[in-house]
Symmetry: C2
Subunit: 167 residues, 2 copies
DNA sequence: ATAAACTTTCAATAATTATTGAAAGTTTAA
DNA sequence: TTAAACTTTCAATAATTATTGAAAGTTTAT
């Protein structure tokens, strides 16, 4: 496999993966492109490489910046804007995990909590609803707390203590 | 909030959540309905409750069975089939995690591995591609291993040892 | 102040994904 | 073996989501 082929494969794989953890294809592909680029890219560069329109590029770059994983960089002597992505995978994972928690998990925890707190009228179906949403509420809450804690560990938590403890 | 409202809220919340961890709305809603139901439901029951067509119900029940979180149960004296879902949240989480790992994470790990193994031609861009896909490969691999290990712990790993160790 | 260089917005359109419903298929009872 | 009860399949259609491109907006250089 040559460079160009490998690069395309990486971008398309990362792109389709993206769609299943909640971000769209173009957004994931742009991030992938920046991730393996040796220098910041302009909007022009991105459009060219990925064959997507200016509007699409603009919108998705903004989203990536909202997520906090892409930043504008100023290239001296250049008028246009250049973009780069977080290059450290650990930090990347941390940012993504935190953002997903805030956007998706936290709201669900809130709703589950509301539902599990309805008044018990004594009927079997109400008891079941309360019991099951309570269980789901606790699981979600605990899993969210855990993942955040894991991701906040600075250096490689994986190969260090945590992982070993679970052997 | 009364029972009916709470129930509808639960089903719709779970339904929209579903779409962002890779299963479709109808599938997630059927699972949610079964999850809070006190007894197995027939296809008729599901169609009626969720106002979806027979075909849709049939297809999504099959998918849920493929995932291993819904099972057919025979109700004596009844001709038609009844369905029920895994009621233990921990076991549910385990099955979902395992299945996602198998369907989504493992294939990505494989591709990242392939890409990170291309021949280094000495150019800067090739070096960067190799370096970054290698980093991503390791992270994904480790995270996948960890989540599987966590999920395989039988009883409540969360409130017990693992969680405490990360304080 | 003007215009060129560049970016953003958003209505229109395209692409993708989910849903329907009816025909075909299967199972069971008699 | 027939037919009623039930389930599955799948082409057509609807709903949703992503993308385009051109007009409007902004910034910078002169």
């Amino acid at each position: 496999m040559k460079y160009q082929e490998a690069k395309e494969k990486f971008i398309s794989t990362w792109g389709s993966l993206g769609s299943l953890w909640g971000i769209n294809k173009a957004m994931a592909q742009i991030q992938a492109l920046l991730f393996i680029s040796t220098k910041p890219l302009s909007m022009e560069d991105v459009m060219e490489e990925l064959k997507i329109s200016r509007g699409n590029t603009s919108m998705n770059l903004r989203q990536l910046m909202d997520w906090g994983i892409v930043t504008k960089v100023l290239v001296s002597g250049e008028r246009k804007e250049f973009f780069t992505t977080e290059k450290d995978v650990q930090e990347l994972a941390r940012v993504i995990a935190k953002e997903r928690s805030r956007r998706e998990i936290k709201p669900v925890i809130k709703v589950l909590n509301e539902i599990s707190s309805i008044k018990d009228d004594g009927s079997e179906k109400t008891k079941e609803l309360i019991k099951q949403t309570k269980a789901l509420h606790n699981l979600t809450k605990d899993a969210d707390a855990m993942i955040n804690k894991l991701m906040d560990q600075k250096q490689n938590w994986l190969t260090k203590s945590v992982f070993k403890l679970m052997k």
